[in-house]
Symmetry: C2
Subunit: 366 residues, 2 copies
């Protein structure tokens, strides 16, 4: 693939990364975790790109986090330490898991005895050992053991097999989203829940070596949760409109955008660009202040993508004096970066409009 | 790639097509257009799969519709007649358009003089001729010339270049959505707008040879729009939860689903499956009756996907007696099939659980 020299030469829509902003985001998180003696296992679901995982490892991350087996397979080319933060269920998945675990040190999140049992059966007869992180629910109510006693039971059952080893506790504080900048998030309740789980484990003589938490919105407050020694943020490498709207980053820290071309201005007070729900994704801002729409222009955040079809993004021009013309180019910051990156095949790394590199988003799909 | 023999052997999430339902959907539309002397240019954005375009062509479609240049490039391997239903803007796109137009008979939707001018400049000096469909706005307010005089001006300007040829009028009735089954849709107003455009063209001695309309919800009513001689539905090959909710198909005509595995039942009244917004997509049902959520189970439509993370779909069990267990498999009909297919790399064609074929979704991306 011949690399175009400048954004103006790119076919649109195209996924674009401001390399200086990305570097600053990476450095900021690396510095935070170093200052608080936390291990950073960056979640690769956001970029799905091994070259960017390398940038995270180079800054001190001991390994990476993956959600899917395909992510783990791809990332095994750049690290030998992977945390699979997803309960692995069903034989086709477990077979691939055993293969990956044969190549790298694999830690796996498990939230029930039945998942653990399936994993132990799949590993049986091999000499592969998998580290188990007992996943507990600290308020998001998605997955995770609900009761401390259930977490203890899972940890105990890990010993039933020589192929599994108890490594620690894991949770995802995805419910703590609102008003992070004002610290109005519900840290006290969540801390109490975590402490309850930790206490039960200690009492059962199962004190965890690793305690893994952290998402991008809460990442920089991780030191306020006692006992946590690892975090798994993903979005922080690029940030997005949601992260900015909840105050967990500045707008100027948004590094990812979708380059698009204005294709029609025939309907008054709007302009249509060639990036729709198949390039931007169609996820609403939820539970955070900051407005309607599915994205906003990087250089004109008062212009939002008010609606979308598959290949059409409709820009709302009601709050701007800007008069776009057909052929003009814009850069859209999506509401949710992880699902937008996943729609593209390549990331175009740029500085000041110059395209420095084009990276394949190799871990898309399953 | 070794083809698994049965759905039970598939890695999940996986995109699955009930081949008998798909065949029935294809036959039904082919029969409708034959009975009403309409030309069917099926929109390939829905399946993005050349083998399925072949099935449509085999049933009498004279060509296909594409939204993107990449779709057109891929579909040029199975047909020599393509309608690009999207205004092509900017040089990188126009260069690829000229290449495609050198291979097949290409018709292109144009809704402004500036788009036409750019296209004519790109074609200048070549011996390639492109058919132009003047796109007009009949009520959706997305793209399309608003005033009949503007449409006339575009049609006249087509003669400015020997590389462009006036072929007809085109519109997309995407605003006619609600209560199709009860015929409560606003057909009279839309018909009047279409007639206004047609009348202006005839008066300007520009009577269009082709008049292209039609979307899946309105497809089977196309004969009620006088003057239309082509339609461009896409969704009809698979249908989806939106199509069913608006009464434009029966639930039993939904041919596409995402196969998923239950991975957690730890939180009461819900089950978590391994298909989230990166496999199902996250588009709400809008303006149609039929409920909340982002999808529903094919075999249990009372169970909806009430929320999603990237790799987690949360099934709402509040309206069912069904007690899923970890490891159970389900099939999810998404709200919007086109954007869900676009998330996958392969379609698994099945009959009674047996996997008959695996097709690459070759036209994804741009």
């Amino acid at each position: 693939m011949k690399t175009p020299r400048h954004l103006d030469e790119l076919f649109t829509p195209a996924a674009v990364v401001d390399v200086d902003r990305m570097t600053a985001n990476l450095d900021k998180m690396a510095s935070y975790v170093a200052g608080h003696r936390l291990a950073l296992y960056p979640h690769t679901k956001t970029h799905k790109t091994p070259e960017l995982a390398k940038e995270q490892l180079r800054r001190g991350a001991p390994g990476v986090t993956c959600a899917t087996l395909h992510e783990a397979e791809v990332m095994s080319s750049v690290t030998d330490n992977i945390l699979l933060a997803y309960p692995p269920v069903s034989l086709p998945k477990l077979q691939r898991l055993v293969d990956v675990a044969g190549k790298v040190r694999l830690s796996v999140a498990v939230d029930s005895l039945v998942v653990l049992d399936g994993l132990q059966r799949a590993l049986h007869g091999t000499d592969v050992v998998v580290d188990i992180m007992v996943e507990v629910d600290v308020g998001m109510h998605r997955v995770g053991a609900i009761l401390p006693n259930d977490a203890v039971a899972i940890a105990r059952a890990i010993e039933n097999s020589k192929n599994t080893r108890y490594a620690g506790l894991m949770f995802y504080p995805g419910h703590i989203r609102q008003h992070v900048s004002e610290q109005k998030y519900d840290i006290a309740t969540t801390r109490a829940v975590i402490n309850e789980f930790l206490g039960a484990m200690v009492q059962a003589d199962l004190a965890p070596t690793r305690v893994s938490g952290g998402s991008t919105p809460t990442a920089l407050f991780s030191h306020q949760f006692e006992g946590i020694n690892e975090i798994r943020p993903g979005t922080y490498i690029f940030n997005d409109r949601t992260t900015a709207a909840m105050g967990a980053c500045a707008w100027q820290e948004c590094a990812y955008s979708i380059l698009a071309t204005v294709v029609s201005t025939s309907v008054p007070k709007q302009a249509v660009v060639d990036a729709g729900s198949k390039a931007v994704f169609k996820e609403e801002l939820r539970g955070v202040p900051g407005g309607d729409g599915f994205g906003a222009l990087l250089d004109r955040p008062d212009v939002i993508v008010k609606s979308m079809s598959e290949e059409h993004g409709i820009l709302d021009l009601s709050k701007t004096d800007w008069k776009p013309r057909v052929g003009d180019r814009v850069r859209i910051v999506p509401n949710h970066v992880c699902v937008s990156v996943n729609l593209h095949t390549h990331l175009h790394l740029e500085r000041g409009g110059e395209v420095l590199d084009v990276l394949a988003i190799a871990a898309r799909g399953w």
